[in-house]
Symmetry: C2
Subunit: 204 residues, 2 copies
DNA sequence: ATCCATGTAGACAGACTTGTCTGAATGTGG
DNA sequence: CCACATTCAGACAAGTCTGTCTACATGGAT
């Protein structure tokens, strides 16, 4: 098989391209876990599609649970990086809030309306493994903080009002996300965006 | 074993108590699927805890997927019946809307903050089996219609405004539900309720 | 009287799962 | 030069899963 040669030559290139075996595993797992679900994706499929040996996976990740944590972190990084790029020329906090919902719709569409990775994971693992639980709560809290930071920057808003507003927007964010997943359509997020704009108009 | 005798005598009683073997299976599956998740609950556990034979399960349900549909229908029935009971003396549509969020919090707490069964199912089965997809969309559409019917009854509201308002409330409903699932707390639904009350105040 | 619906118990097939282990190869750093 | 980190291939263990099947029991309806 030429595949073997490919893999080995690939490994030599890897330092220059910075796509290591570990990175291949994370990327493959991130794709498969999100598209097929965590429970329905076996380790064997991950290593096969990543083109790595099983021992290599377990060398980098002691268990599937650890790979799951890396998957969620990668999803979070991708989201934050994509959003920052999308908002790079937007300064007004009001506009940043609204455009976040635009980007959310784009992001969900680009991800086959798979919904929120973290809500999906806790839906698949109701018993809450410690590491996974911690990761989900940490990421969700960062999402919440994002909205709180933005509303606090709105001109002339009181601190308490900003917090209430942020929590409402966060609810619309998650509500829009899961409804887009259910309906496989961006319509719910458009309504959520409209709701956010109406909320912001109240504060002028 | 006395168990055998128990089972058989149970079967004879079943017509009077109206708790058939099929009903036992549905109740057990409804509990286990919601608490443990659909994928993580095996047929063998269902029949064991229901106290029925495997052949009996497959006599009533051709496949696990069919049992899943029955599970979702049962969850929907339980929700609607519980809500109707909770709202039986509440006539004002505004109050019915707000109290629906109160009942949602009670319901989630009573169900170990397991979240929305239908969102969980589509999170576990991303490929969307035909029967399951149809069921989830049907139930979600009924939930949506519930809010639309109520907002239309608000005094002096325009038809279009009522529709927009209902969709916003529905977003807060689902957002509150999944966030309660994440945080294992009713706090998000309290914020959602407050958001609904604020929305309703706009329409006086 | 006999058929049929409904129920029991439990073995079995065939596939899947996670994780371990053996044994070898490669390239780099000390 | 040798030790170490990293990677390969793939067998294996020990368990899970869904669904099928055999063989039998029971009670009501025709």
């Amino acid at each position: 098989m030429s595949e073997c040669g490919f893999v080995y030559s690939f490994a030599t290139v890897m330092e220059t391209t910075d796509i290591s075996v570990k990175e291949h595993i994370i990327q493959t797992a991130t794709r498969l876990f999100h598209e097929q679900g965590y429970n329905r994706t076996g380790i064997n499929q991950v290593i096969e599609e990543a083109g790595v040996a099983k021992a290599s996976l377990y060398y980098h990740f002691p268990s599937k649970e650890d790979l799951c944590v890396a998957y969620m972190q990668r999803r979070a990084d991708n989201w934050v990086n994509g959003l920052e790029e999308y908002l790079k020329n937007v300064d007004d906090p009001r506009e940043r809030l609204v455009k976040t919902f635009d980007y959310r719709a784009i992001h969900l569409k680009n991800n086959q309306f798979g919904g929120c990775s973290y809500i999906k994971i806790i839906s698949e693992l109701p018993q809450r493994g410690e590491k996974i639980d911690e990761k989900v709560l940490g990421i969700k809290e960062k999402q919440r903080k994002f909205f709180h930071d933005l509303t606090r920057k709105l001109a002339g808003i009181e601190k308490k009002s900003a917090a209430v507003l942020a929590d409402k927007i966060f609810l619309l964010f998650d509500g829009g996300t899961v409804q887009c997943q259910v309906y496989r359509d961006t319509a719910p997020l458009k309504i959520a965006k409209k709701a956010v704009m109406d909320l912001l108009d109240e504060y002028w």
